[in-house]
């Protein structure tokens, strides 16, 4: 995966480049809005990571310029402004995801990977399959090894989101944002309990566990046999 990091804090940018390299991605960096815009227009990137406050050209302006030139590369906005209205403004300008500073690298990585995969995403598929687990998005039916699994509406959406991102790490905040549409941090980790409920419905009694906890990052649904 090729990434472009537009961030004026050199230390932070260096750290990100190094961290992405360690997990096998290629990352370029730009120190200001102008340079970032040029690189984004010229290069072929899978995801752009854009800081909101940049010298020369503001982050949102960079995104606006890209979108007006029909460059549809997914953009993740990084910002110290993390309130709901800042987020809404960022997403309205054409950003695809928004992450407030300070953040955990695992969170950023999970979101960037989710964005990159979204292009060739399974969004159009009617039936998601992971191992012998099947989810039909139209009939809202879920089955494991041919046996029907009864899910509450929210559990269905949770599983649907996990399965759309099968093989990828999905963080708790991603789930909270995409499944519950909440952008705040519930003090107790309510998501974990929802996950364990879901797990007891789809994994209980099966030798092969599909819903995995990724320590320090989040959750992932994947066919362990592969």
């Amino acid at each position: 995966m090729r990434l472009l990091i537009i961030e004026d804090d050199r230390d932070a940018a260096d750290y990100l480049v190094k961290a992405f390299r360690e997990v096998g991605h290629v990352a370029d960096q730009a120190g200001d809005g102008e340079e970032g815009l040029q690189l984004a227009l010229d290069g072929e990137y899978d995801v752009l990571i854009v800081d909101r406050m940049l010298p020369k050209r503001d982050g949102l302006a960079v995104i606006g310029a890209l979108r007006s030139k029909s460059v549809e590369t997914p953009v993740l906005i990084l910002s110290a402004l993390g309130q709901v209205d800042d987020r809404v403004k960022g997403l309205r300008t054409g950003g695809d995801d928004y992450l407030a500073k300070p953040y955990a690298f695992s969170e950023l990585l999970a979101r960037v990977e989710a964005l990159a995969r979204r292009r060739g995403s399974r969004g159009e598929e009617t039936v998601y399959r992971v191992g012998d687990l099947e989810l039909n998005r139209l009939s809202h039916e879920v089955s494991r090894a041919g046996q029907e699994v009864q899910l509450q509406p929210r559990e269905f959406r949770l599983l649907e989101y996990l399965m759309r991102h099968a093989g990828q790490v999905v963080t708790r905040t991603m789930l909270l944002e995409n499944v519950w549409d909440y952008h705040f941090d519930p003090q107790t980790n309510v998501i974990d309990v929802h996950i364990s409920r879901l797990r007891s419905k789809i994994d209980k009694g099966f030798a092969q566990q599909l819903l995995h906890t990724v320590r320090g990052a989040g959750y992932m649904i994947r066919d362990g046999a592969r």
Binding site: V84, P102, A104, W180, Y182, F184, P186, Q187, T188, V193
Partner: protein, 469 residues
């Protein structure tokens, strides 16, 4: 500006002048109307009496000739009063009557006219004014009957006099009143200005004087005082925040730093380093969370989050939050129930209200005694969206230890955690945020006794017209 200049410029004084002008105009036209009508009335009276007398005297003349007329006129002229009589020969020589001299030519013009004359008994006296009618009798004699107008003029004199005096009195009293009122108003405004200046110098405890009369200045002062109260509260809040940041953020930072230092001082291998780093990250995550919560509260309190206000259904929020927390409650052996009763429309920031309610539910689950019963009631947490007409309430009731009466006001403050809850995880900001969110929406957070347990209520103004329920 001189004191007098200031006084003359006051609104009260300017108003006084306007009212005074209007009043004077009104009084003058009233008096004028009165005088005009009186004059007409008097004139009508005079003409009808004079006409009557002339008719009578003409009859006397017809029956008894000039001799009889002279006798009658002579008789009538002797009576005291304001009646005037004169009978003359065709050449103008006086035969009888009480008129001494007339303006020349009066007798040649029969009909009505106003003229000056002198009385017979005081030929040297001054001219008098009279309304007279002259007729020419058959035979060429002239008969003049009239009324002295002195009475009418005296009446007008009195009216004019009264008019002048009352006008003078009105103007003097009006101006004095204006001065008095203006000075009173000015004094109160000056007092307000003085207080405002002390407040601006930094003493926020000052309040505007309220006279207690309930007038518009009092209302203004009341409102300004309420505003000052709010400003003072905000300033106090700001100071508290900085104090709290100093304490509650510096304490964990110090802990963090100490742990790093200690790890460095006693090198104990990779595993120990790893442990130290992991706990450092965990601790800094907590710090970030606290910081976010503080920022959010500050934002809600300063009213910045007023953008993005939309109309939404509080009942739906109750259901959503209930659904989010139900598995957690279930895991702790607590029955979490949601009770809604129709739509509960509220206008506001949906996300913030959700978070506020989530905080209350989180608290309720945290402090509810798990499993079993309390005083015979099963442990449960009840989320309820209520419609009280004017207000929409979102309440969370638990069967936990509750909050003693004395502490209820205090727990809403930032970072306040009661002794018995120190061991529970949490920042102590949950209730502060809920309270700030409620206030942002023009509502309030109420904490009540649930016998046993705590009932926390977010009361918000209802959006749109009040429903029937």
């Amino acid at each position: 500006m001189t004191a007098l200049g200031k006084l003359l410029r006051t609104t009260a004084f300017k108003l006084t002048l306007v009212y005074l002008a209007i009043f004077v105009l009104f009084a003058a036209s009233l008096l004028g109307y009165f005088a005009l009508n009186t004059r007409r009335l008097i004139d009508e009276q005079i003409t009808s009496t004079v006409d009557g007398e002339i008719n009578g005297l003409s009859e006397q003349y017809e029956q008894g000739g000039i001799r009889r007329l002279v006798i009658v006129v002579d008789l009538r002229s002797r009576r005291p009063g304001s009646s005037l009589y004169l009978v003359t020969t065709p050449t103008g020589e006086g035969l009888a009557g009480n008129v001494g001299s007339l303006e020349p030519g009066v007798l040649d013009h029969p009909g009505w006219l106003e003229t000056n004359y002198r009385r017979l008994e005081s030929p040297e006296g001054s001219d008098h004014h009279a309304l007279v009618r002259v007729v020419q009798l058959p035979g060429g004699f002239h008969l003049l009957v009239g009324r002295d107008l002195e009475e009418r003029e005296r009446l007008f004199g009195i009216i004019a006099h009264a008019g002048q005096w009352s006008l003078a009195l009105v103007i003097v009293l009006g101006l004095a009143g204006g001065f008095f009122v203006s000075r009173r108003v000015l004094k109160r405004i000056d007092a307000m200005t003085d207080t405002a200046q002390t407040i601006m110098r930094g003493d926020l405890a000052g309040r505007l004087p309220v006279a207690g009369t309930g007038d518009e200045l009092d209302r203004l002062a009341d409102h300004l005082n309420a505003m000052l109260e709010r400003i003072e509260a905000l300033m106090r809040g700001l100071k508290e925040v900085s104090d709290n940041i100093a304490h509650d953020l510096k304490t964990p930072l110090t802990r963090l730093r100490n742990r790093c230092e200690q790890t460095l001082r006693h090198p104990a291998g990779d595993a120990a380093y790893r442990d130290a780093l992991e706990s450092t990250i965990a601790e800094s995550d907590d710090l970030i969370r606290t910081f976010d919560a503080l920022l959010m509260i500050a934002r809600a309190e300063s009213g910045q989050a007023r953008d993005n206000m939309i109309e939404f259904d509080a009942a739906e929020i109750a259901r959503d939050v209930g659904e989010l927390y139900e598995p957690l409650a279930d895991e702790k052996g607590i029955a979490l129930k949601v009770e809604t009763n129709g739509a509960a429309p509220v206008r506001g920031n949906r996300e913030l209200v959700s978070q506020a309610l989530a905080n209350l539910v989180d608290n309720a689950i945290k402090y509810a005694r798990p499993d079993g019963t309390v005083n015979g009631t099963p442990t449960e947490v009840l989320i309820k969206a209520g419609d009280e007409g004017e207000r929409i309430t979102l309440s969370v009731a638990d069967r936990g230890p509750g909050i003693p009466d004395a502490d209820r006001g205090r727990v809403v403050e930032r970072f306040v955690r009661l002794e018995q809850s120190r061991s529970e995880p949490g920042s102590g900001l949950g209730l502060s945020l809920a309270s700030a969110v409620a206030r942002l929406h023009g509502g309030e957070l109420k904490l009540e006794d649930n016998h046993p347990g705590l009932r926390s209520i977010i009361a918000l103004p209802r959006a749109g017209p009040a429903g029937t329920g």
